[in-house]
Symmetry: C2
Subunit: 225 residues, 2 copies
């Protein structure tokens, strides 16, 4: 049963058009910024009519939210296939995957970081329209923890997941600010986080660390979920 | 000796005009957003001529950078007067002060968070035009650590300062996303950070924690300084 919102997207041809529109949007964001791009510009670039584009996406914002959603979905699929390993190795692997998926659209995501972090924006990553994207990324980190060979038993799973989610947000923000090709500093940071997580087992048993994680979780859940 | 850039700002009358222009800009940012506000709009709202406004600030971006600078300067002045106390108490006190200074312009800073975190923006908080602002905030945290009764001797001062600087950025980002009046969740988070810092003394002696702090410092210095 096709959804009433975008009937054609469930067919291979529909999916192809949907992807073409998303790519056209990202290309234009990178060229002239998010704000200065219109749905009409995107349709022209995608060589589709405004009417057809509108059938897939009722607004420019809807395209961005679909980009978030598709990305989170792809990362979630990868997370399921992650080989078992340490928490640090699995966290690094999934972040590397996410950054590799973002890399071809580096400029476009650079242009989106402003709107994404603007609490008043329709495409805010903390807004109610991206609730399902955040839920998906949370599941990714639940998966990362589940399959870890060394997940600490001394802290609640949810607290660890929330902490990984926050670290992931900081890494993404840093990535958009790393001007060097391949984001070498962020790659180094990821390797450091990997080592830190591998070495942190005994720390998780310490009361102030456990208490700190509990507070972070409460805060993250209150703000984002 | 007056600077050639803004000769009149060094007199009390000049300073008054400068502040009036900044306040007018913030009022307009909160009303219609940063992007849709022009220098002409700001001049009209400040009841000054465009020519006079231009003598103080050659662009809208220059006004925002001046707002950052004045804020950092005010926080720095407060940091010097902080009573001695624990690291946690001093960190919380200085962040509370910064948030109190931001509070009257909550909506305006909400409108600025997008441009401030856009790496391509002129008013990027990570850009080269705000280097002096970051240096000033770093001095604030140096001061916070210097006067702390319990600053750990086991980690280099610079590592601790960089970590506090990063926590401060995360708190500010969270503040712009806390929709409730008085930002109660962020206030709670600050109280939690206070307790966490007070309890963290023994943690700083642990090798993985010291190594982690060293890595954070290297990353923050490479990205922002």
């Amino acid at each position: 049963v096709a959804s009433s919102q975008a009937p054609t997207t469930r067919t291979p041809k529909g999916e192809h058009t949907r992807q073409t529109i998303q790519r056209a949007a990202l290309a234009l964001f990178s060229k002239r910024g998010y704000r200065d791009t219109t749905l009409r510009d995107i349709a022209r670039r995608a060589r589709t009519s405004v009417g057809l584009t509108y059938r897939y996406f009722p607004s420019k914002e809807a395209i961005v939210l679909a980009v978030y959603e598709d990305l989170a979905q792809a990362v979630e699929a990868k997370a399921v296939e992650l080989p078992s390993g340490t928490l640090g190795a699995r966290f690094e692997a999934i972040l590397e995957m996410k950054l590799s998926m973002l890399a071809p659209h580096r400029e476009a995501f650079g242009a989106l970081v402003g709107p994404a972090l603007d609490p008043a924006s329709e495409v805010s990553v903390a807004g109610h329209k991206s609730t399902s994207v955040r839920a998906r990324m949370l599941r990714v980190f639940e998966n990362v923890v589940e399959g870890a060979t060394d997940a600490p038993s001394t802290v609640p799973r949810d607290d660890l997941v929330a902490a990984l989610y926050v670290i992931h947000l900081v890494v993404l923000l840093a990535w958009t600010h790393d001007r060097h090709k391949g984001a070498p500093r962020v790659r180094e940071l990821l390797a450091d986080i990997h080592s830190a997580l591998d070495a942190s087992g005994p720390l998780f048993a310490l009361p102030p660390v456990r208490e700190g994680l509990k507070r972070i979780t409460a805060f993250v859940r209150a703000m984002l979920f």
